[in-house]
């Protein structure tokens, strides 16, 4: 009887479950298997070599190490600046002046750009000689502020982070704005009765209440910065001299340009483990906490 009752349920969720099981979980496992072989020629099976690719990766591959730290650096700059910027935008929208809807729309427009389009646009911005930023600075007689941007090994990864900030701060703004708007009006009234200034209202009461919003934003930003590929690939190509190469672009280069499939798979698995540690475990903990 119970089984019979469950049949329609199973049919309804079957497509979603089967697709995700195959495309996410079985493929992830398949990828691990690939990473344990020496496979590098299409049409011929690889030989099982155990964790040798990982040993090579962690002990002998300077580019990998560089990519690893570049990825961390990108995450740190990107997230460290996007969250405060999102909070500031949200507060200034919340101050409720006329025409705030227009500003909100403007802040959200970057979110509609594909990474490819924004990378294309920003590589035009960042060109050292003819690019928009340096041109503008020269027009304003601020020559001393012009930078080599993406042509500098020191600045390339920062440029990538800037474009990410441009693209995602609207998302952070939106989540914080929703969070700020949903603060209990009674609390706001009580704060006003206490004679707090606007600054105190936000810094002492409203912003400390935004922990759930921060968690949401953090999770999404972590996710997108770990898988960062399109933007780096089109903006800097990982250069100059691998100074902005991240795990995702290195994995692509190794796998599809150099045909080192097994080695590429081992980089992919490192990314899988990273997404597990920094994203999936926090989500699981969060889900369990909510249920308690």
């Amino acid at each position: 009887m119970i089984v019979k009752k469950n049949i329609p349920n199973i049919i309804f969720i079957a497509p979603a479950v089967i697709l995700v099981v195959i495309f996410v979980y079985i493929f992830s496992g398949w990828n691990v298997w690939t990473s344990l072989t020496d496979w590098r020629i299409i049409g011929r099976m690889g030989k099982f070599i155990g964790v040798q690719n990982y040993i090579e990766l962690f002990t002998n591959d300077d580019t990998f190490r560089m990519c690893f730290f570049n990825t961390i650096k990108l995450m740190a700059i990107f997230i460290g600046l996007t969250i405060p910027l999102g909070i500031i935008c949200a507060i200034f929208l919340d101050l409720g002046v006329k025409g705030k809807g227009i500003f909100r729309t403007i802040y959200l427009i970057p979110l509609s750009f594909s990474f490819v389009a924004s990378a294309t646009m920003w590589s035009w911005m960042f060109m050292p000689d003819k690019g928009s930023i340096n041109t503008l600075l020269r027009m304003l007689n601020l020559h001393f502020l012009t930078q080599p941007w993406i042509t500098s090994t020191r600045q390339a990864i920062i440029c990538v982070a800037i474009v990410y900030i441009w693209q995602f701060s609207g998302f952070a703004t939106l989540i914080y704005y929703a969070g700020i708007s949903s603060v209990d009006p009674n609390i706001i009234d009580a704060v006003k009765v206490d004679g707090a200034t606007t600054f105190q209202k936000y810094s002492r009461v409203v912003i400390p209440l935004q922990k759930p919003a921060t968690l949401t934003v953090l999770l999404i930003l972590l996710m997108y910065s770990l898988r960062a590929f399109d933007l780096v690939w089109v903006l800097t190509g990982g250069g100059p001299a691998f100074s902005s190469e991240v795990l995702a672009t290195y994995m692509y280069r190794v796998t599809f340009n150099q045909n080192l499939f097994a080695y590429g798979a081992s980089i992919s698995f490192v990314m899988f483990i990273l997404s597990f540690i920094i994203i999936i475990i926090p989500v699981l903990i969060g889900t369990l906490k909510i249920r308690e």
Binding site: F12, P15, L93, F113, T120, M121, L226, G264, S268, I280
Partner: protein, 269 residues
């Protein structure tokens, strides 16, 4: 009065950061080859569409490809997501919470960690470099988020409605068809827009699952346009603009639904 002026000043300064790159993009795209030497900041001397015509001719096939892939993948993933979201929202069965969690967690796994098997698999089943391959891929990786969005959307429909319908003798299927589908239109709009914009903007799968222009999506075409040195910047900027226009229009005119989608997807992550 001064307080408001100060607020506007900050709002405008922030807006400048978001708008200035877009201004240089549009400004450059409207320039003639001759006008390019004045740089991207100086306003264009003429409203010239030559660059747009050139760019359009280079990417029109890929625009069509993207439209086909995004439309079919959006429809399929929305329908399947609404079916599974309906079950996870309104029915309790053994292991439902675990299955739901396993499903949704798929959203967080970096696409790189399944990319190599995906390419091999598509080759094996003959879907490499076809519309089917890309549509199937986008539908599969869309399932976690469409399921989550519809589950959250259906939470707003009272459980009593389902229970009453089941007591009346309507099965799971008829309840879905007669009660949920008619109430789902706003949900489909939100999820559909969310999916369409994401699939239209996707690059990595398009890059790895196609060869040549026949099935290549427009994002890959724009990246190639930028990658070739023979194309002038006004054409590159025009190409990037053309590829972005559909999504920007959706954002501007359907902003409410976009916001709803983003909030619905993140509130109960």
């Amino acid at each position: 009065m001064t307080r408001n002026a100060l607020i506007y000043l900050v709002l405008i300064a922030l807006a400048f950061f978001y708008i200035f790159p877009v201004y240089t993009l549009l400004n450059t795209s409207l320039k003639t080859d001759e006008d390019l030497k004045y740089g991207p900041v100086t306003p264009t001397h003429s409203i010239y569409f030559g660059a747009y015509i050139q760019a359009f001719n280079r990417i029109k096939k890929q625009l069509l490809n993207s439209a086909i892939i995004a439309v079919f993948a959006t429809i399929l993933s929305s329908v399947l997501g609404s079916m599974s979201g309906y079950i996870f929202s309104k029915f309790r069965f053994k292991g439902d919470k675990v299955i739901f969690l396993v499903l949704v967690l798929g959203f967080y796994i970096a696409p790189q960690s399944i990319l190599i098997p995906l390419v091999i698999f598509m080759g094996k089943i003959g879907f490499f470099n076809t519309y089917y391959g890309l549509i199937l891929t986008h539908v599969a990786y869309g399932m976690p988020i469409t399921t989550l969005l519809f589950r959250n959307y259906y939470e707003g429909i009272p459980q009593e409605l389902v229970d009453a319908s089941l007591v009346d003798g309507c099965g799971t299927f008829n309840t879905y068809l007669k009660i949920f589908l008619p109430l789902s239109l706003p949900g489909f709009a939100v999820v559909g827009i969310f999916q369409f914009t994401n699939i239209w903007n996707e690059f990595l799968f398009g890059l790895t699952l196609t060869r040549g222009v026949a099935y290549q999506p427009v994002t890959v075409a724009v990246a190639n346009l930028k990658g070739t040195t023979v194309v002038a910047w006004n054409t590159i900027c025009a190409g990037a603009t053309i590829a972005t226009i559909p999504v920007v229009l959706i954002y501007i005119f359907l902003l409410k639904m976009i916001i709803k989608g983003l909030l619905m997807g993140s509130v109960k992550g």
